[in-house]
């Protein structure tokens, strides 16, 4: 179990994490979602004991990430946003290098390597230089390097950055398989479609945790009904006091009201050609994200 208790972290004047508390249960995939600069990587780096919180503390399996840094590091695998594989080393050399770093006993290495090949399908490429792999294969290799010491917790910072849909799907199949084997995964991603199938999501905006729930519960908690209007009168709606959510996208307006318009009101807009059509829209994680972004100040 991971216990994050009242964690705050600043860099100069910037409060990157503001009093964050959350508990991550075992064998779960938890997604960390938030805009650029919200403090996601900062939180992740504290979890891996790479940086220490200014206030509060983090426990992994009861071990404090600051006081028991060495022990914690044997429990975790961390894949940073831009993974630095050694491009001149082969696939196999990269994995063995990590085995060396993590003191994996020599007699166990061969077995583990085979297991990793089996799930990553990288065996055919074991002699290929890492720099010459495709994007998806690079990510799988990076993951393999982090799994060689069998971590219980895996921290992935935007692992599917720049990876095509097929490779992404393969990558997630692997991650779900690991979860089912008992590994706990904490992952940040800008792909909200990926996030919608995780066990839980932590939404972080401006350094603060604003929600921590199952994706379905986050969607259910969305307080408004969103409508899609075919309309060119963005300014008309922008001035209305009860508009709580307003986005123009390719001549369609996505809008939500604190109090929904009456039938008569809709009819009036239609009659006056302020709108051409309107329809209800199913809430998506993107809507949750956009609503939050509107309320938070852009850095």
């Amino acid at each position: 179990m991971i216990k994050i208790e009242s964690v705050s972290k600043s860099f100069g004047d910037i409060l990157a994490n503001d009093n964050i508390s959350l508990i991550i249960e075992e064998s779960q995939i938890v997604g960390l979602i938030g805009p650029d600069g919200a403090g996601k990587s900062t939180l992740m780096r504290q979890l891996c004991s790479l940086i220490s919180p200014d206030l509060g503390h983090i426990e992994i399996d009861g071990l404090d990430t600051v006081k028991s840094q060495r022990e914690v590091r044997t429990l975790v695998g961390y894949m940073p946003q831009r993974f630095s594989l050694y491009p001149d080393l082969t696939v196999e050399q990269n994995i063995l290098f990590f085995a060396e770093l993590f003191d994996v006993p020599i007699k166990e290495r061969k077995d583990k390597l085979e297991k990793l090949y089996k799930f990553s399908n990288l065996k055919a490429f074991s002699k290929r230089q890492a720099g010459k792999l495709s994007g998806g294969m690079k990510q799988k290799l990076a993951l393999s390097c982090n799994l060689i010491h069998t971590p219980k917790y895996l921290f992935l910072d935007e692992p599917t950055f720049g990876v095509d849909p097929v490779s992404r799907q393969e990558f997630w199949e692997l991650i779900f398989q690991l979860r089912d084997e008992g590994i706990t995964v904490f992952v940040s991603t800008p792909y909200l479609d990926e996030a919608s199938v995780f066990d839980k999501l932590a939404l972080i905006f401006n350094g603060r945790l604003i929600a921590y729930q199952q994706p379905s519960a986050i969607l259910a908690a969305f307080p408004y009904q969103i409508f899609v209007l075919q309309s060119t009168h963005y300014d008309y709606f922008a001035q209305m006091a009860n508009v709580v959510y307003l986005h123009l996208f390719n001549k369609n307006i996505n809008i939500a009201f604190s109090t929904e318009p009456s039938e008569e009101q809709w009819q009036e807009w239609l009659d006056k050609r302020i709108i051409l059509t309107y329809e209800k829209k199913k809430t998506t994680l993107e809507d949750v994200f956009l609503l939050q972004s509107k309320h938070s100040v852009e850095l």
Partner: protein
């Protein structure tokens, strides 16, 4: 949509040694179109874009961009297109104003033109107060819009966007796509690559590339209908997977 050809290729091919990166590709992209150029990592997308931008000479086949021949008129092509990628765009150690000056210089704009453009960009992107800040210190979303503005200082008719939204959050991506739509409405042709399949749905037409060949090309709606899938993501996975299976046999 007017039917003026912006990009035309006929059996264009590029080989590197024994490896065929682009294999007999036929493509027609029209003025004002938002054309999504999709494919797996390593499918040959970047090679194709580099040929269309006049940076790489094809091994065989024909290609015209903005009416100019990629073999004989690559310098004219460079003047009539814009190119932006997430990987290489602005100089972080220059200020916003200096980046505009630099790109203005690259595109041979005169001083007065550059000043005018700077004023326009400042108003459009609302970054009057940011002009003297270092580019690395401005927010990601703004940086991305600025990169696009710099790529278009010379007012090109065609713009190539190579994964322009990699590494930016969903709100910034959405804002950026609103700009793409505006460009299209102004009659600019937008040729865009992305790994975000929700963005692929926003394109007028798109192609899917696999091992140097175009394996599908149509509007998002038609591609979904033809393949009986609900999303371009599923279409993409279905088509590429079936190709991979076919390659094994």
């Amino acid at each position: 949509m007017s039917k003026i050809l912006s990009v035309y290729t006929n059996k264009i091919t590029k080989k590197f040694g024994s490896f065929t990166a682009v294999d007999n590709v036929d493509l027609e992209v029209y003025q004002g179109e938002i054309f999504g150029f999709l494919g797996a990592n390593g499918a040959g997308k970047s090679t194709m874009i580099r040929m269309l931008c006049g940076l790489l000479t094809p091994s065989a086949g024909e290609a015209k961009v903005g009416g100019y021949d990629v073999y004989k008129e690559s310098e004219l092509i460079k003047k009539s297109i814009g190119y932006m990628s997430q990987k290489f765009s602005l100089y972080n150690d220059l200020t916003v104003a200096e980046n505009i000056d630099f790109y203005g210089g690259v595109y041979s704009l005169n001083k007065r033109n550059i000043q005018e453009k700077k004023g326009e960009i400042a108003v459009e992107l609302d970054l009057d107060r940011q002009m003297n800040r270092l580019t690395k210190d401005i927010p990601v979303g703004l940086k991305q819009k600025l990169a696009l503005a710099c790529a278009m200082l010379h007012d090109p008719g065609i713009i190539f966007l190579d994964e322009p939204t990699s590494g930016v959050d969903p709100k910034v991506r959405k804002d950026f796509w609103n700009i793409i739509y505006q460009l299209s409405e102004q009659g600019k042709t937008v040729f865009v690559t992305t790994h975000f399949m929700d963005e692929a749905e926003y394109c007028h037409r798109l192609s899917i590339m696999h091992q140097g060949k175009i394996i599908a090309l149509d509007s998002p709606q038609n591609l979904k209908k033809k393949n009986e899938e609900n999303s371009i993501n599923d279409v993409f996975i279905k088509l590429i997977r079936s190709q991979i299976d076919a390659d094994y046999q």
